[in-house]
Amino acid sequence: MATDDVTLDVDAGEIHALIGPNGAGKTTLIAQLAGALRPDTGTIRFDGSNVTATPQHARVRLGLARSYQITSIFRSFPVLDNIALALQARSGTSLSFWRPLASETALFDEARRLVAKIGLQDREHVAAVELAHGEQRQLEVGLALATLPKLLLLDEPMSGLAPEESAHMIAMIEGLKGTVTILLVEHDMDAVFRLADRISVLVSGRVIATGIPDAIRKNAEVKRAYLGDEATV
């Protein structure tokens, strides 16, 4: 997978969906934006500054966080500790060798609020590995959310979810609208057309169209390249 000369403008506060067939380069693009992969050429500007050479962890501090298509959580840690860890990253130094983490009530109070926000308040003390798949997906998004991003890159948050779990996830992402800008990569067209303010279509590493959902639905090139029959939603 690769991306080829992608130009993508995401406006503050919007949910911008990125769709495209398998192998279009969506996950590669997410990795490049997040900083896990370096682009060979081109620049990535975030919030007015050039972050092309900024390492991933530093981009997170600037407010650019991602979630993963393949769930990547701290499996042996309880839900609450997962979220507290993400909060710890941006609250003070972690070169702290003496004070017990457990005594940081402010950190865990905030973690509890976030756990409730992602709908896992009844599962706080359950190890992440014990969660149902849908719950793990919620935690996956929650980890990215807990870094308090300005721009949240969501890589197929609905992947592998049952219909009712999808509905739950859609509601959760909808609830974020306006508080955080979201770039949403998703195959579930129901979700995309319900959530997105604008949609870009990526095919073979190139953006072939960007527009509001109605315009994308009617775009002949998009239909041919990707949407096909799925467009009849």
Binding site: P55, F77, L95, F97, P100, L101, A146
Partner: protein, 312 residues
């Protein structure tokens, strides 16, 4: 419960040399010091291996480095423990910075191999250091001088100094692994990519952890030089790194006391079995095999229902 157990062990450890002396078994006092020194070294390895998931196969490099600093300073006429031991810790830490900075850019088998190669390089440096004994090693004139009217040449005094250092280190590490830093190290072992993705510069944290472990191994090296009154490149040989690893795995990877248990069990096994047969390595190997097969969490894992490195 754990507090009670810790207190009992401390009392027993405190009474041990007095009991041995009254039973005329002074040899075991020196043996126990050796166990505690190796416990310190294995514990330091456990910090990077067990908590951090960094499988270093060159940990003896720091042990030898600390030992040689004490030996060389002694040869230069610096006998004070207050100078030599911090110097041993400092120099080992510096080596750990250099070795870690390069090694930690690799992962998995490559990390194992590169740490091993650094230790082997160190080994050959000391072998070729003819001014300080080369391959034959270097005898120390005396044990280090700690002042306060205490004489480390007395095995009981030495025992208590080692006990104090080991207990203080374990206490400090107990705080460390339950503090923010410990959580970060554990989480990096669990899922390093995600740690980067939630904003942790993982390389830096791993390096700090590696340096702390190297410094502690250097301290153990300073003590082993005193224990033996002798340092030689044998301390840095890869088999030594292997023994430290075996102690850690035997005792329990990722358990705070894993290194202590492992050092105790391995050295006691060696000591007792070697008095029966020259082929003592065979039963030691069989014991190791049994533990790896039946107690993959190590001996500490047998007594804990919690998963390693998650104990509270």
């Amino acid at each position: 419960m754990q507090r009670v157990l810790t207190s009992i062990i401390l009392v027993l450890a405190f009474a041990f040399p007095l009991a041995m002396k009254s039973w005329d078994q002074a040899y075991y006092i020196s043996f126990a010091s050796r166990v505690m020194i190796y416990a310190l070294a294995a514990t330091s390895l456990n910090l990077i291996l067990g908590y951090g998931g960094m499988v270093s196969f060159g940990h003896a490099a720091f042990l030898g480095c600390g030992a040689y600093v004490v030996g060389i300073l002694m040869a230069q006429g610096v006998a004070s423990a207050w100078l030599a031991w911090p110097a041993a810790v400092g120099v080992s830490a510096l080596f750990a910075v250099a070795i870690g900075a390069i090694s930690l850019r690799t992962r998995g088998v490559y990390f194992i191999m590169i740490t091993l190669s650094f230790a082997q390089m160190m080994y050959y440096i000391f072998v070729s250091l003819k001014a300080y004994g080369g391959e034959d090693g270097l005898n120390l004139a005396t044990r280090s001088d700690i002042g306060f009217g205490l004489d480390l040449a007395d095995d009981i005094t030495f025992y208590y100094v080692v006990l104090l250092i080991l207990a203080a280190t374990l206490g400090g590490l107990h705080r460390l692994v339950h503090a923010r830093f410990g959580r970060v190290i554990e989480a990096i072992r669990e899922n390093e990519a995600r740690m980067e993705a939630i904003g942790f510069p993982t390389y830096r944290y791993k390096l700090v952890c590696f340096v702390i472990a190297g410094a502690l191994a250097g301290l153990a090296g300073a003590l082993i030089a005193n224990q033996n009154n002798f340092v030689s490149p044998k301390l840095i040989e890869w088999t030594q790194s292997g023994s430290l690893m075996i102690m850690t795995i035997l005792g329990g990877v990722g358990y705070l006391y894993g290194g202590v248990i492992g050092a105790l069990v391995l050295l006691v096994l060696e000591e007792t079995l070697s008095s029966y047969t020259i082929h003592w390595q065979l039963p030691v190997g069989a014991t190791l095999l049994a533990i790896v097969l039946f107690a993959p969490q190590g001996i500490a894992g047998l007594f804990s229902r919690r998963s390693p490195a998650r104990e509270r």
